[in-house]
Amino acid sequence: MSEETLPTGSADEPGAEWPELPPEGRTLAPADVCFRREDARLQMREGEGEWREVSVVRLFPLSEPERWLAVLDDKQADIGLLCDLEGFEPEQRLLLEDELRRRYLTPVITAISAIRHRGDVAEWTVATDRGETSIVVRNVREKVKEPLPGHLTIEDAQGNRYEIPHRAALDAASRRLLDMEI
């Protein structure tokens, strides 16, 4: 996107006709930036510039959890985009993944072992990537949503959100329980 941006009209690249993005909307190439962790915060610098405190947020947290990341400064203002974690050094990549895991506390359900009903309240016993837990959902049909095909989110009674990114990838027993529910 940083190359010549005059309207050349090349059909194969729709972005080419766009005016150059302002500096805060640019793409940060893995080679140009470096991250480090200072006590509880993530810091970033560009080239040999200043280290500054940043946070990394997902632009498409459901469909693209590992791509399309925005880097924000400590005032939540946009610094730039990371399109992919692929190009980063393994140790940098680990740092970024860790930061995402730190920021996004939404557990991913890997298996459902039981669903118990008490009145309008369902209690799900589930295994998640953060450990076993049981979640209490009221009004199940309203609280389980399918924002993307096959991707379910479940909101429990306390406002926590759980995800099932691939419904079809659950084991058969979990799927059966889920099918009975919604």
């Binding site: 200072e38 006590d39 509880a40 915060r41 947290p61 895991r101 730190r102 920021r103 996004y104 506390l105 939404t106 557990p107 008490r118 009145g119 309008d120 309240v121 209690e123 998640t128 953060r130 450990g131 076993e132 837990t133 049981s134 979640i135 209490v136 009221r138 009004n139 049909r141 309203e142 429990d156 009674a157 306390q158 406002g159 926590n160 959100r161 099918d179 009975m180 919604i182």
Partner: protein, 739 residues
Amino acid sequence: MRNDAESPAPCPPEGFSPDEQVRVCAQADLLPDGRFGSEWLVIGEQHLWVIADGDGATPRIELPLDELSDATAQTLVGGGALEVSRNGTHIELVRYTNARAGRFTTVAGALGKWLSGEEAEVPEEDEKRCPRCGLPLAEGTKVCPACLPRSQTLRRLALYLLPAWRQALGLSLIALAHTALGLIPPYLQKPLMDEVLAPRGEPRPVDERVRLLGTLVLALLIAHVLMSGLGAARAWLSAWLGNRISHDIRVQLYRHLQFLSLGFYDKQQMGNVISRVNQDTGRLQEFLVWGSQDLATNLLLIVGITIVLLVMNAKLALFVFLPAPIVVLLSTVVWKRVRHYMHRFFHRWGRLNAVLNETLSGLRVTKAFGQEPRHIDDFSSRSLELAISGTGVERVWSILFSGMSLVMMLGTLLVWYVGGREVLFGPMSLGTLVAFLTYVGMFYQPLRFMSMLLNWASRSLAAGERVFEVLDTEPEVAEAEEPVAMPEMQGRVSFRDVSFGYEPHRPVLKGISCEVEAGEMIGLVGQSGAGKTTTINLICRFYDTDAGEVLIDGVPIRDIHIEDLRRHIGIVPQDTFLFSGTIAENIAYAKPGATREEIVRAARIANAHEFIVKKPDGYETLLGERGQGLSAGEQQRLSIARAVLHDPAILILDEATSQVDVETEKGIQEAIDRLVKSRTTFAIAHRLATLKNADRLFVLKDGEIAEMGTHDELLAAEGEFYRLVQTYQDISAVSAVQR
């Protein structure tokens, strides 16, 4: 998360005993690495500690308070983290999910104050869990639907029958009589066969048999006439009772919905609320009226027929009872499946409705972007889904019915065979067999019903619970115990350190303090999302503050009689809302008895008169839903007229003239200027020129008042306001303001 649910763990945990007084202890539900688990944050007089589960003796973190500063509750997605600073470095103390976020936000606030040497109180933790089962309670309710005994719901439902108990009792009696009568005709078949048509042994004389035939047929006729009469009465009375009850529940629910706070609607999807009013009350009616009757009559049938069968021929009766357990079992099993399919069917039905509703209301946008085919595809795939699941329901039903009929037919065939042998070789008469078979046919029906009844009842009780859940939700913004009546209001408004967030742990306003004199005109400016509308919402008391107080004329707003408060506040909201009806009705919305003169005057002030007179029907022009038929600016002017006619002590204009042209705005402005002389006015506008007459401007930034003062002062200070003026490139506004 219920790791800590069953029995609240002691806080501080066992094994940890500090030498100093503990000021607060809070349990977190995540470990430092983000997995579920318990940790405790304990704050004492001189230190704070973080204690890991099962290791009370050696805290994971121990810090002296005098080296710390800045306690913040970081808001993360799905939870948060509590951090403090020590010599400029950040230390993360604990992490927690949303379930604990409210608590830790409070703790962080108090810790921050302690660190800077101030006093602070941490209130006891608000128990948001059911004391009996530990399930988290819904916001604003005190009853736990899981713990609520079913019988209690049933009793509550039965109360709706109370006002019409005579009719209800009458209905039950009629239903029982109707059912009992139904048992008679088959019994008459026996003498008809044995005495009249195919007598065994020595037949009676023919004329006697003819007389008996006449008597029996007459008896049958009477029985059927009575049954028809009772049946009609039963249906009519049921309809009467049912409609009456559902009317009662519906109105009660609607009344309650009208008084619930806006906070309730923020958390609920409107579609769900509507379905509670429509579907759930309907389901309740059905159950209350038919459920009780059917239960009674079917029980009567089962018991009655069992006795009759046993009396007629005990041995044969056993063959009838043989398939009974199979029928019960089968219908229970199959019903479970059916229920699942039905659920899905209704769910998809709802989704299809939602798509239909949304896409048709947004048709203008659809057409503008040429996306019709997409919506057609979407609709057709949803519709197909519905069709498939509808077929599924039918398939299961049909299997259930055929299977059931087959099993029942087997029982009947058994009776035919065994009974037939009895007739041929035994003492049994043909009449007994025929009557017997008729009873057998009547016997399986209620059995099948009883097995479905359980599910039906539990579904209806669930509907009842959902309705009661709403009814039991108390308005968060509630009338004070001893409200202060305020027949007159001067309009002095004070904010004292007010903090507020729509969700408890995401503050939107952070410590707002200001004093507004009666009659002052205040302009609220700030970027989009700064919290201007939110501030206004607090003045109207649509929401209650989380911390601090709003006072009007020196009285805390929580103590003011709500009706008085609303009578003295007039608001032109940011998004105009007009009801269907005439223009005059809409202007007089807040004052239904307003005279024509008042209405026209208000319209004149709002510069609406000009466009209204151009309409063929003038003030009686009918508006469609949401004010359809008027331009956005026209709608806005009606909204202003409405507030003007309300004649409030405090007038609030939230972007009230954002949709009108500059000239019209000027006209409105001048009229309003005359109007605002005697009243306190809060005006919000992005077009800064609109606020040129304001006595003072408050500049909001990120939920705080960044600046206060007159235009000139603020411009001279070259601060936030100056920057706003510049960035809006509102040069003309600047010159107008400076004029």
